[in-house]
Subunit: 192 residues, 2 copies
């Protein structure tokens, strides 16, 4: 397998972490998205959406969207609950991550780290919704060890990607003790 | 099963359509999100994210996120390809829908239909990205009958929800012949 990814992107790191955890061999092809690497004609043939990551399977077929890729790679592994309901709860977190977490926490981080914006320049609505996302995670992780059950699933891998670097986007985790406990547990499980 | 949904929301209609197609019995509980129906203390117990739809399974367990719900309801049905790769391509579209289609096309429609904004008041970036989403669908549907293969999958159900009403958000489908052909085919298959 080949993974086209940007090492600075949490979405890309999800694919790396799952592959490493499952001992799946891969070649990492670094794509510099800040220099338009995901918008070249060659790249757009792999993913017309112009986004990293993209996995090229051993038979040459491409697969995009971080959460779709890790769901494929981890099929039949302990990263996806066997119970259909718990697998669906995992999916609930995966879709929530892309709609209600990444667009606020990852985007604020992107603007501060890569566009060099200051905290005061961030969109207050994005900051507010980022904290709402952290509050929902804190509520869940106060009650369960990981997001879905007592063991790590893809929901944890996906949410870890940008939560562990939320401070780079100006988010303080001081009031989120369960989230901080969970970050450490995920990092330990993944060997980060 | 009980489905808490707002009949004006494409995300909610996805769940209704899949249930109807699979002949799954349900009670529909109308939630008026414009009047705060998804933010009451009772509703937040079902889904802390405060979003519709929510499905309450027959054993009382709740499930949120439209695409997670339909993926659960349609497990083992012909709406999910048996091939792991094609199922993953379906997931690719499902995640893409929530990140790169719904936030632009559904949001523009929401602002025009419910907030009574005019076309000129829409965020030009949202309009541009909405048309980019339609262009990607057109490219795919020029080559395949449905988004993933020759038969309808959950990817089509999910993308249909807001694409069929894109004109209500000011999007013209005149230049998207394959998308229009596909909308008609999906509606026929779903009996809409």
């Amino acid at each position: 397998m080949m993974i086209y990814g940007d090492s600075n992107s949490g979405n890309c790191l999800k694919v790396k972490w799952v592959s490493d955890y499952l001992l799946l061999p891969y070649d990492w092809i670094e794509v510099d998205t800040m220099k338009g690497g995901s918008r070249t004609p060659e790249f757009l043939k792999l993913n017309g959406a112009g986004q990293v990551p993209v996995a090229i399977l051993d038979d040459g077929r491409p697969l995009a969207q971080s959460n779709a890729i890790i769901r494929y790679l981890a099929r039949d592994s302990d990263l996806i609950p066997q119970s259909p309901y718990l697998a669906a709860k995992m999916d609930e977190w995966l879709f929530w991550e892309q709609y209600s977490h990444e667009p606020f926490i990852a985007v604020c981080r992107f603007q501060m780290v890569y566009l060099k914006k200051s905290l005061g320049d961030l969109d207050p609505d994005k900051v507010k919704r980022g904290y709402s996302a952290l509050a929902l995670m804190e509520h869940q992780l106060h009650n369960t060890q990981f997001l879905v059950c007592s063991t790590m699933t893809l929901a944890d891998v996906a949410l870890l990607a940008y939560t562990r670097v939320a401070h780079e986007g100006g988010f303080h985790l001081d009031g989120y003790a369960s989230v901080r406990r969970w970050i450490a547990a995920c990092e330990k499980t993944l060997g980060l």
